[in-house]
């Protein structure tokens, strides 16, 4: 039944999915085996060991890296597996399946994120989320010399996930599914806070993480060869045990009306999201199917609001309301129809609607405190952003022979928004593609797509009111013309050898945009060779070249008086002076090389796997000025370069059918030059008069060699 429902709904709701791949069972593989080993890593001088182990734990020591267990009985199966046992990236799962009756799965997984092992801070965390600094250090002049006593600490976090899922086959056509997932996120991550614009010091902090998300899903599914139906309840509860971050001001240790000794910001609040959904599909005459999906959900949080300021020297300003009262209702629906009235023709149509109805009451303030340091008056009203998106896609495929399929399609996406400069955008998309896959030695795929997005009305007065140029357009909602072309050819002259070549070219223009992103282009080319002379031998090489170009524009100028329309025609205002325009032309070039070789028993009793990947990136940012500029010539930024090599070799020799011994080797090398995130020459910058207090979490190179001796036992 599970298979029936999944296949019917998925295939119908996502028509372009085309030919389905094999089913993906998350359960463990067959066989029983356990892998013991000893591992050690050496690093090049000054290597960033944390970045090497960013998402993994490759510490030296004894390992139980791999465990698999399978037991089968009459109509049932028990599986268990584990990886990296005892290490920070360990995971385990077990499943029991009594076929046709019940399947139960339990999974445990740990995902580490190791930022840095050399971070230093002048702060001490006295309680979760509260950071203090010695009073004597709290001045710009004392900071640079204070790092001699700074504590060095590991900056890391860990995500732990437990999932239990049960599927009851209530009848031949009915399943009941229940799944509960709990995710804990603990540790710390880099964060920052500040006390103002001029003369204040922005401080980087190790924001503590103590978060938990509980996701519950319950579903009732029914299906047979004619159709399928499902109702489901999904709920997600996010809980954060550290909801504010308080830190001492690095520049002052006393509170006055215009300066605070401490800052406090609000961190992620507890939130709930619950959704009810129903879906179904029905087989229709004429080799047709219809499917529908409808869901309704509520996202809410009502956290108590912090006071405007933690600074006791400032007056207490009454909050407009005590809690956030944030509330959004989400309605989604999705309808599709597929039909193939004659074998060589296939139609599909799909309509999708998504409404994010933000019902959070506006939060209107007339007096507030900026950065805990300055009382301000004026008018600010929150903008509970909401939108409704309608999407339609229709495709027709004509396949006159088994070798060729030609597809044409049209799509339209309309989005209506609240609280954005462009209220409504409509994008029309036409596309055509050709597929030729039936010939054994050649497959060709080509897709061309042209899209045109237009928005109206444009509330440029709203831009002016917040000090922006009225001819600015936000690239995600601005007018846009986009062309994309993708081609892929695979040639297989003999069954053991294949060549593949792909190219993707994209161009985005933003007509009507004077300021902001004006165009965005990309070119991607790949070439690969795969050689499989026999089942036990395979080799692969691939090369890739990517180039991304983006042009953006701005104007450096003082604001208009009172930010009003009346001054827009005043040529004496810097704001209106095109000679103050500048552009930034970004070019990002990435080259990739990959090679693999698998020799599985090509040498008797021996398996060898070798792989190597290289990714190099070079990004340039070139500033340009107007021909008659009055702006000082910029000093161009140096390019940002990075290079990541990853190589691995794994050799396993089967002593007998129960024992194998092996060696594995991992080589990683990372090189980086980054003007803003590399070594900046200190943690309190600039040294003469610091405006930034860092922790030393930077991009640093590393070279690492990990060697592993392993014994695998099969039973």
């Amino acid at each position: 039944m599970r298979t029936t429902f999944t296949a019917l709904v998925a295939a119908l709701l996502l028509v372009p999915a085309g030919a389905a791949a094999q089913s993906q069972d998350d359960g463990p593989g067959t066989g029983r085996q356990v892998d013991f080993g000893v591992r050690g890593t050496t690093y090049g001088s000054g290597s960033d060991q944390a970045r090497y182990q960013r998402y993994r734990d490759l510490r030296d020591g004894v390992t139980v890296d791999f465990f698999r267990y399978l037991k089968e009985g009459n109509g049932w199966e028990l599986q268990a597996q584990a990886n990296h046992l005892g290490y920070r990236d360990q995971g385990a799962s077990a499943s029991f399946n009594r076929f046709g009756t019940v399947k139960a799965v339990f999974k445990w997984d740990q995902l580490p994120l190791f930022y840095s092992g050399t971070t230093r801070t002048l702060y001490t965390q006295v309680t979760p989320g509260v950071f203090t600094m010695a009073d004597a250090v709290q001045s710009a002049s004392a900071l640079p010399g204070a790092f001699g006593n700074a504590q060095v600490f590991d900056l890391r976090q860990k995500r732990q996930t437990a999932n239990a899922a049960v599927t009851f086959n209530a009848s031949r056509h009915t399943d009941v599914k229940v799944s509960v997932t709990n995710t804990w996120r603990k540790g710390a991550q880099p964060y920052a806070g500040t006390f103002g614009i001029g003369g204040a010091i922005a401080a980087e902090l190790a924001m503590p993480l103590d978060q938990q998300t509980t996701d519950v899903t319950a579903a009732l599914e029914w299906g047979n060869t004619r159709g399928a139906a499902k109702i489901a309840y999904d709920a997600s509860f996010f809980r954060n045990d550290v909801q504010s971050l308080t830190w001492d001001n690095p520049a002052r240790s006393t509170d006055i009306l215009t300066g605070s000794s401490r800052g406090r910001l609000a961190l992620a609040p507890d939130t709930d999201m619950t959704t009810l959904s129903a879906s179904g599909s029905l087989k229709l005459p004429g080799r047709s199917r219809a499917a529908a999906f409808v869901s309704y959900g509520v996202m809410a949080q009502d956290a108590a609001l912090l006071p405007f300021s933690i600074n006791p020297a400032q007056p207490v300003i009454a909050l407009p309301r005590a809690t956030a009262q944030a509330d959004a209702h989400v309605t989604a629906m999705n309808y599709s129809l597929t039909s193939s009235p004659v074998p060589m023709v296939w139609f599909s149509a799909r309509y999708r609607q998504y409404e994010f109805d933000n019902r959070t009451p506006e939060f209107h303030i007339t007096e507030w405190v900026n950065w805990d340091s300055a009382v301000a008056t004026g008018e600010h009203t929150s903008e509970p952003f909401g939108y409704t998106r309608h999407s339609f896609d229709g495709d027709a495929v004509f396949s006159p022979t088994r070798y060729v399929g030609v597809k044409v399609g049209y799509g339209r996406e309309q989005t209506d928004r609240l609280h954005r400069v462009v209220e409504e955008t409509v994008e029309d998309i036409v596309r055509a593609s050709v597929d030729s896959t039936g010939l054994g030695w050649l497959s060709v795929r080509g897709i061309y797509e042209h899209a045109q997005r237009r928005g109206s009305p444009v509330h440029w007065q709203e831009l002016l009111a917040i000090g922006e140029q009225p001819m600015l357009r936000h690239f995600d909602i601005s007018d846009r013309d986009r062309d994309r072309m993708t081609g892929m050819v695979t040639v297989t002259p003999v069954s053991a050898l294949s060549f593949n070549l792909s190219a993707a070219i994209g161009n985005e223009e933003y007509p009507g945009t004077t300021f902001g992103l004006r165009d965005n282009d990309n070119m991607v080319y790949t070439f690969g060779v795969d050689l499989v002379p026999r089942e036990t031998l395979s080799f692969g090489v691939s090369l890739g070249y990517e180039e991304y170009n983006a042009l953006q524009a701005s104007r450096t100028a003082n604001p208009l008086p009172a930010r009003t329309e009346a001054y827009l025609a005043d040529p004496t205002q810097q704001f209106n002076d095109p000679r103050r325009d500048w552009t930034n032309d970004t070019t990002d070039i990435v080259k990739t090389f990959s090679a693999t070789a698998d020799l599985l028993k090509a040498i008797p009793k021996t398996e060898i796997r070798v792989g190597y990947d290289l990714s190099t990136g070079r990004t340039t940012y070139v500033y340009g000025l107007a021909p008659n500029t009055v702006v000082a010539a910029p000093v161009q930024l140096p390019p940002v370069m990075n290079e990541l090599h990853r190589g691995s070799a794994d050799v396993k020799y089967f002593v007998n059918r129960r024992f194998a011994v092996g060696m594995a080797y991992i080589f990683d090398k990372y090189m980086v030059e980054d003007f803003a995130l590399g070594d900046l020459g200190g943690l309190a910058l600039p040294v003469a008069n610091p405006a930034l207090l860092l922790m030393g979490y930077t991009y640093r190179p590393y070279t690492a060699h990990t060697t592993w001796a392993r014994i695998t036992y099969y039973w």
């Binding site: 295939a11 806070g193 609000a266 944030a326 998504y354 990517e546 953006q552 803003a676 930034l692």
Partner: protein
Amino acid sequence: VHAPKSETGALKLASTTATCESCHKQEAMKVKRSGHMPLREGKMDCASCHNSHGSTNVRMLKVGNTVNESCASCHAEKRGPFLWEHAAGRENCASCHDPHGSNNDRMLVARQPMLCQRCHVASRHPATIYDAAQVRSASNRIVGRSCVNCHSQIHGSNHPAGTFFVR
């Protein structure tokens, strides 16, 4: 597949990710960049986010009804709703982030401050040219975390003075 190479799923290649990469070349190369999700480390694969058999979400995303609902299924702390919302982020996480990988910090589609300056050109500091001279003088608007040295609550703020995402 008569001779599957994968441990699960009877795939032609050794893993889900390797199988997907055989056609999705651009995504395959992005995954190999220095900033990436933990696919290469084996803690995720393409099927962590996508359902290759189809889904009710866009782009075959496995969970939710939008890109954002899919992202928030793991990054729930950014789900909100918040008192002060960053509209562009609410509409689509992928306007700023490339989930397949990037050479920019935090998998941004462009580095800061240039990314922020694509939408914010207001007088004074958003419209300043952050050039090598600004780097040399260690301006806190380009070095380190750049714009989010101050606007750290960029995904949304629940602070009453969170208008500009600095609290």
